[in-house]
């Protein structure tokens, strides 16, 4: 379970960002979460509430956007979704490939703030 330490990093990052921008209050943090990030979403939600306790982010929401895995398929000569993380092949033509273009993201992409 490393979601708590991930959640604490998220809270820290968001707070730093807010501090840099002056007198604002964070209502929600928007996160892009890749299917290959190694982070379990449900565990992250419960950890987030804990990580926010006794910080200026207490009571804020975590909004997660799931990011699917995209690979580069040589056969199709383009970026394609994978069949599934259990089956790393092009969803269009079925060619197996390990060339990952997207899906490892763990990014804070937005803050809903009140001023």
């Amino acid at each position: 379970m490393h979601e708590l330490s991930i959640a604490m990093s998220i809270v820290e990052l968001a707070q730093e960002e807010a501090d840099r921008r002056g007198d604002i209050r964070i209502k929600a943090v928007h996160l892009r979460l890749g299917a290959l990030s190694g982070v379990v979403k449900d565990a992250l939600f419960s950890s987030y509430a804990m990580a926010c306790d006794d910080t200026p982010l207490e009571g804020s929401r975590l909004v997660v956007e799931d990011v699917p895995v995209i690979i580069f398929c040589k056969q199709c000569d383009g970026q394609r979704p994978v069949h599934s993380t259990q089956m790393f092949c092009c969803a269009d033509c079925g060619t197996p490939t390990g060339e990952i273009v997207q899906g490892k993201e763990l990014l804070v992409v937005g803050l809903e703030v009140e001023e």
Partner: protein
């Protein structure tokens, strides 16, 4: 009067701190000419056993050392120290994986340029280590024949974060009716093209091939770095 809500766009990698330290470590390792290999697996898959054997044998021909992470106890470091190689335990306490900063701290005072190989044994855990770059050149994921052939399908992310799969305790394959074909198929399904090696510390099967593999990967890395330095 309700306050106005607005959206601020940002773009911050949550693991930025770890990634920065890992990049710094990788640069240090390359400058020192040490090839760094990390090992991940579920608890008890045989990391320490394989590492003890590897350290003992590689020590005959080159300079090797290891860091080993565990939640508690110095047992694994004590086992590895029997190889006579320099070994240091990292006690992670409540943290279920190694992070780059732990490696950096543990290596304080070490003369990296006096090493050819450095091994990092991660905490036995198939989930959390996948998110953390340790600055290693090569990541090995171990699965033992007693764990079942579908491990890769259950933990695709850790297989995806690794470069090579080792199937361990191959001496027990018959006893547990291990289906090697299914295991290989599952590994290839989650990580097409992944190199797979079978090993047993008990019978010695595959250990020569494993050492050859490590030497070859180290030589490859040095060629690449040498070429880069020359340009």
């Amino acid at each position: 009067m309700s306050a106005k809500t607005r959206m601020i766009e940002v773009r911050e990698n949550v693991l930025k701190q770890n990634d920065i330290v890992a990049r710094e470590l990788r640069r240090k390792f390359h400058d020192a000419g040490v090839f760094v290999v990390s090992m991940v697996s579920s608890p008890g898959a045989g990391k320490t056993a394989l590492l003890e054997n590897t350290l003992t044998r590689l020590r005959q021909e080159c300079r090797v050392a290891a860091l080993v992470g565990d939640l508690a106890t110095e047992n694994d470091a004590a086992r590895l120290a029997r190889s006579q190689a320099p070994v240091k335990q990292i006690i992670t306490g409540t943290v279920c994986h190694l992070e780059a900063a732990m490696i950096d701290r543990a290596l304080e005072g070490w003369k990296l340029d006096e090493l050819d190989f450095l091994f990092l044994e991660n905490v036995g855990n198939m989930v959390c280590p996948s998110s953390y770059d340790l600055g290693e050149d090569l990541r090995l994921v171990l699965m033992s024949v007693t764990e079942g052939e579908d491990k890769p399908l259950k933990y695709p992310t850790i297989f995806n974060s690794a470069d090579v799969a080792l199937i361990t305790k191959i001496d027990l394959a018959t006893a547990v009716e291990f289906d090697a074909t299914a295991a290989n198929r599952n590994i290839q399904a989650v990580r097409p093209g992944m190199a797979i090696l079978d090993v047993s510390v008990k019978s010695g099967a595959g250990l020569d091939e494993f050492l050859d593999f490590l030497r070859a990967r180290r030589a490859d890395a040095q060629t690449v770095l040498g070429a880069r330095a020359a340009t």
